[in-house]
C-alpha cells in the first residue's frame, strides 16, 4: 500500500484528484494482484450481507445465544414510526439498524466484521439508513466501504482494532471513525475533511474500555453500536461543516495506541472489570453455563522450537 498514515492518504488523493475509495481500490488491486472487477464484486457481496442482516434484525425475533439480549432494534424501529424521536429520525434510524445488525451477530447470524464482529453494526447502520434517506445507489455505498476500509487499515496498522488488545476504543471507536470518514466522502466532502472526521470521532471514544458482561459480545456492545452510529453521523456533520481536528488525526490514532497499551487487562475484553463486574453483571455471568472443558495437563505450548534456518 502506498499509505500508512491518514496524512499520506490525504496527500496522495489530493495530489492525484482521487477519492479515498478510488485509491483504496487501486491499491487493493495492486497489492493482491486481483482484477478490479473481482475486488469490487467482493465488496458488493459484503454490502448485500449487511443489508440482509438489517432486514433480518428488523423482521425476525433475534435472541442471542445466551438469551440475555435481542429485540431492541425492532423496538427502536417501532418507536421511530410513532414520530417522537429526540435525536431526529435520521440518527434514530441509523441507531435502529446498527442495533439490528449487532443483535443478528449475537444470535450467531451472518454479518460482516467492520472491522470486527463486536463493532459490526455501526457501518451498516450509518450506510443503509443514509442510502434510504439520500437515495444513493449500491455502487456509491460500496465505494463508501472502500473508503471506510482505507481508514480502518491505517488505524489497524498504527494502533489496534480489537477489544482484547486495545479496549472498546479500538473496536467500536475504530468503526465510528471509519463510518464518520466514509460518510463525509459519500456526501462529497474532500479527503482532508474525511481525515478530520476520523480524528473528531476517535477523540470522542478514547479511553473506552472493553468490559463485556460474561465476556459475551452483547452487553454493552450492542448498545454501543447503536450509539456509535449516531456519533459517526455527528462527526461527519462536524467535518462537513468545516470543523477541524486540532490534534491531527494520525496523532489521535497514536493516542489510542498509548491509552490501549496502558489499559489494565481487566478492561480489555477479559470480563474481569467494568460493567462485567458490577453486581448485576456478575449475576448474569453466574446464571450462564460454566465451561465444560477439562483443564489441560501441564506443561503445554512450546512456540519456541529449535531455531535456525535450513542450510543451503
Amino acid at each position: 500500500m502506498r499509505f500508512k498514515h491518514l496524512h499520506e492518504l490525504n496527500a496522495i488523493c489530493t495530489a492525484e484528484s482521487k477519492t479515498i475509495a478510488q485509491l483504496m481500490i487501486e491499491e487493493q488491486v495492486q497489492e493482491t494482484n486481483t482484477p478490479e472487477a473481482d475486488v469490487v464484486q467482493q465488496m458488493s457481496e459484503y454490502y448485500q450481507v449487511m443489508k440482509e442482516a438489517v432486514h433480518k434484525g428488523l423482521n425476525e425475533d433475534t435472541v442471542s445465544r445466551s438469551g440475555l439480549t435481542g429485540g431492541d432494534g425492532k423496538r427502536m424501529a417501532e418507536y421511530i414510526r410513532k414520530g417522537e424521536t429526540c435525536s431526529g429520525d435520521a440518527s434514530a434510524l441509523a441507531m435502529a439498524y446498527a442495533l439490528c445488525v449487532s443483535e443478528v451477530n449475537a444470535s450467531m447470524g451472518r454479518i460482516v466484521a467492520t472491522p470486527t464482529a463486536g463493532s459490526c453494526g455501526i457501518i451498516p447502520g450509518v450506510f443503509i439508513s443514509s442510502q434510504e434517506r439520500f437515495g444513493w445507489s449500491d455502487e456509491h455505498l460500496v465505494n463508501g466501504l472502500f473508503c471506510a476500509g482505507a481508514i480502518g487499515y491505517v488505524i489497524a496498522n498504527n494502533s489496534f482494532i480489537s477489544g482484547a488488545e486495545g479496549g472498546c476504543q479500538a473496536e467500536v471507536g475504530s468503526a465510528i471513525g471509519m463510518a464518520a470518514g466514509a460518510m463525509v466522502e459519500l456526501r462529497g466532502g474532500t479527503p482532508e475533511q474525511v481525515v478530520h472526521a476520523v480524528g473528531l470521532a476517535l477523540k470522542n471514544t478514547l479511553g473506552l474500555i472493553c468490559d463485556p458482561v460474561a465476556g459475551l459480545v452483547e452487553i454493552p456492545c450492542i448498545v454501543r453500536n447503536g450509539l456509535g452510529a449516531v456519533t459517526a453521523l455527528a462527526a461527519a456533520d462536524m467535518a462537513l461543516a468545516g470543523v477541524r481536528s486540532a490534534i491531527p488525526s494520525d496523532e489521535v490514532i497514536d493516542v489510542m495506541l498509548e491509552v490501549g497499551s496502558a489499559m489494565p487487562s481487566r478492561h480489555r475484553e477479559t470480563a474481569q472489570g467494568g460493567l462485567a463486574q458490577t453486581p448485576t453483571g456478575r449475576k448474569m455471568m453466574e446464571k450462564l453455563a460454566k465451561p465444560k472443558a477439562k483443564r489441560a495437563p501441564e506443561p503445554e505450548l512450546e512456540t519456541d522450537g529449535a531455531a535456525g534456518s535450513a542450510s543451503e
Binding site: 487499515y153 489497524a156 477439562k294 512450546e302
Partner: protein
C-alpha cells in the same frame, strides 16, 4: 504490516458473534484441517487466555469444529457444527489451560487420522485475522490471507534452491517464506505465502523432488479443501 489489505478490515463475512473468538477460530480450525490434509478422526483442542475464559459464549468451540470440517467463516452450519462433526465421525475434545500464551486468543490444535497426525498453534489477532505460530512444533508465521504452500523436507543443502526454482518455473511469486528445522540434517519445514494458487503440475513436480517429504496447500479462499495431494 499486521493487516495487509482492505478485506482484512472490511470482512470477513462471518457467523457471529465475535470476529476474534468465532471467525478467527473457524479460520484456525480450517488451517489445521488443511495442514492435516483430510477430515480428522480425532481432534484435541487446548484453549488459552481469553479463548479459554469465554469460548462457550462466543461459540469458539463450534467455530473451531466448523473449521475442522473445512467450513468458511460464514458457513451457516457453524452453529450446529457439533452435530455435523458427529455425522462425519470426528471425535473432538476441548481443554483449557491457564498457562500464559503469546497472544490472548491462542489455541493449540492436535489432529489425528489413521497414521497421520499434526499439530498447530495459532492466535486470533483481531477482526477475524489469524496468525499461525507453529506447525508440528516448527516455527512459522502464516496469516492464511494467501495460498500457502507448506513443505516438510530433509535439512539438506540445495533443497530450497530446487524448490524455489520449481516454483519460479511455474511463474508464481513467493511473497513470504520461512524455514525452520528441528536439528541439523534433521527434518525441516518451509512455509511459503504465494501470490497465486499453486497448480497441480507444480505440486506434483515439487513432490517428486529429492528430500521433499510432504506438501500441503493451505488456501482459505478455496471452496473445497485441498485434501490428499
Amino acid at each position: 504490516m499486521r493487516f495487509k489489505d482492505v478485506f482484512s478490515i472490511i470482512g470477513p463475512s462471518m457467523t457471529g458473534p465475535s470476529s476474534s473468538h468465532t471467525a478467527g477460530a473457524a479460520r484456525l480450525g480450517r488451517i489445521a484441517r488443511q495442514w492435516l490434509g483430510c477430515t480428522p478422526e480425532r481432534a484435541r483442542l487446548t484453549l488459552y487466555g481469553s479463548f479459554a475464559d469465554t469460548y462457550q459464549g462466543h461459540g469458539t468451540d463450534l467455530a473451531l469444529i466448523g473449521g475442522l470440517l473445512d467450513y468458511a467463516t460464514d458457513d451457516p452450519r457453524i452453529p450446529d457444527a457439533e452435530e455435523y462433526a458427529e455425522q462425519a465421525g470426528m471425535e473432538v475434545e476441548f481443554f483449557t489451560s491457564g498457562l500464559p500464551a503469546p497472544h490472548p486468543n491462542t489455541v493449540k490444535i492436535e489432529l489425528w487420522h489413521g497414521d497421520r497426525e499434526c499439530s498447530l498453534i495459532g492466535a486470533s489477532i483481531g477482526g477475524g485475522s489469524v496468525s499461525v505460530h507453529a506447525l508440528n512444533d516448527f516455527r512459522v508465521q502464516i496469516s492464511g490471507e494467501f495460498p500457502t504452500l507448506v513443505l516438510r523436507h530433509a535439512d539438506k543443502a540445495g533443497v530450497l534452491a530446487s524448490v524455489t526454482s520449481t516454483i519460479s518455473s511455474s511463474g508464481v511469486n513467493i511473497g513470504y517464506m520461512q524455514v525452520d528445522r528441528k536439528a541439523r540434517d534433521g527434518e525441516a519445514l518451509t512455509a511459503m505465502e504465494m501470490d497465486g494458487a499453486p497448480d497441480p503440475d507444480m505440486l506434483s513436480r515439487l513432490k517428486s523432488l529429492d528430500h521433499v517429504l510432504d506438501i500441503r496447500v493451505i488456501d482459505l479462499k478455496k471452496g473445497v479443501s485441498s485434501d490428499a495431494i
